[in-house]
């Protein structure tokens, strides 16, 4: 890779890490235990991939990522809420996340539900109440809020989660007949598109909207986000099977819950081929976007990082 993507990501993630708790502190009058529960999950770390993608997407059109840091943090808050709710006993019932006890294990189920609700709601507080450079006027901020809501709600992520529930138990029984495998792949494509790819797509789309990108560049970046998001989820499925559980900091619940995954339907090798094809398609889309070279190289390197996590 032409750039040191690991150091690039570490440095930029540090800015997000620092800003997130400050945004929670800025929510005046918040109930202290609720604020603690929100901060607990926000501070759990992670690569901050979505904020970084948004910043690089924005920089393609000439701005500086730090100028849209509130929007990047808003997206990370939505991502974090989705993890908190996904881990709940009624959902995946996970005890560990990034090597630490999940929110409901520390704060109880009721407060974990509420912390997720508040992270989601206050993503819109942070997005709509923050200051941006003069070029980022109300129309662009409103457009970013629209993208976020559409990609995160029933047109997007939450429908992916609902389909994922429906898919539980799909693998019960000793063998998968060909027709059922085909139905499984179709359902899985819907799940991956919405559960994972939509929020990664939102990242690059919000960056483009905030930058006032031309429609054709917005479209190309949106496609890049979709293919990259699908690649991310296939890699995640593989990691759930072959990853080092300790290093991953989670407990391999997909296999335990007999969830529908690419690894379970296509085998690990088949899933790896699929991930590679998705990466190639993502990069082809990215190359169609004109603009600054450095942020495009950063997006390309981050895509390689997403693909390479399991190698």
């Amino acid at each position: 890779m032409a750039m040191d993507i690991v150091n690039y990501m570490r440095a930029r993630a540090a800015a997000v890490d620092a800003a997130l708790p400050a945004f929670v502190r800025g929510l005046g009058g918040a109930q202290p235990r609720l604020a603690a529960s929100m901060t607990y999950s926000l501070a759990a770390g992670g690569k901050r991939l979505r904020p970084l993608l948004m910043g690089a997407s924005y920089e393609i059109f000439g701005g500086k990522a730090r100028d849209i840091l509130p929007a990047a943090c808003a997206l990370e808050m939505v991502h974090t809420y989705s993890l908190v709710h996904d881990d709940l006993p009624a959902m995946d019932d996970d005890a560990l996340r990034r090597g630490r006890p999940t929110n409901h294990k520390v704060y109880g189920e009721a407060l974990a539900i509420l912390a997720g609700d508040a992270l989601l709601t206050d993503a819109f507080t942070v997005l709509t109440s923050s200051r941006y450079p003069r070029s980022v006027g109300p129309e662009r901020v409103l457009g970013a809020a629209r993208v976020l809501a559409q990609r995160a709600g029933a047109m997007g992520m939450v429908s992916g989660q609902a389909a994922d529930l429906q898919a539980e138990g799909f693998l019960r029984g000793p063998k998968l007949a060909p027709a059922r495998r085909s139905a499984g792949l179709k359902l899985l494509a819907y799940i991956h598109l919405h559960k994972t790819a939509d929020l990664i797509t939102a990242a690059v789309e919000m960056g483009a909207v905030l930058a006032g990108a031309p429609a054709k560049d917005f479209k190309a970046l949106s496609s890049f986000g979709r293919e990259l998001g699908l690649c991310f989820q296939v890699a995640d499925d593989i990691l759930d099977v072959v990853g080092d559980k300790k290093k991953l900091g989670k407990s391999g619940s997909d296999a335990r819950n007999r969830k529908l995954t690419y690894a379970s339907l296509l085998g690990v090798e088949g899933a790896r081929r699929e991930a590679r094809a998705l990466l190639d398609r993502a990069l082809a889309r990215l190359r169609a976007v004109p603009g600054a070279a450095a942020p495009k190289a950063a997006l390309e390197a981050m895509a390689g990082f997403v693909y390479g996590r399991e190698n």
Copy 2:
């Protein structure tokens, strides 16, 4: 009352009832069972008080309520999500809501959590993606989204819910010492302000913001909303004790859960005096707002209706 408030409210609520499922249908690609779960709770009826308050507040400044129907429906979606999550087993564990089984009783706990999440998220989809008259530009819509997020998140409603959790068990033990009663009243004021009053305040504030109201009128309406919202919750506390359970369509869970309420702390008569004082303060605030007489009379009559529910 000078106007037939019951017919006024019925007619205007019908427009909201008709629009809400159409907005869910408009969420393209939504997972069918998720959409059904969202629609189930949206169609459960209710007075649509918050949308009606928003419409009347908007009309004070010369517009027509139907022009901001998407914003009114967005607020009702946020209110509905809060009921769905509040009824969950980990929260109030209610089996009935408005005389029908609660969402999780019909769709299961996981889908009820997701339906709540989607109603909340897609409130912002509906608010930010809809068309408004030309006078309602992006700056006003963005302002309405900001009010909604601030009043519904950790600065508002969700903190009220979190404090409500904390207050559970407050009444355990045979007697309440004076110091504990005083602490209880302080905690209760916080709960009522955020759990209930903030979203009713949001209703009149969003109407004013969308209408481009002058700052001093916005402030007066905001105060009206706060006092009315507090009055609403005190009346609700009384209803939970003295109301006809069948007519009310819920199961008196406050008393069952030994929750902190005005009725439990001040007695029913004390709570009634408090409700009356709050109504009077709300109406005084409303009188300070200039503008069209008919929508102001409607707000006044709705306030009387809120107060009178338990008489």
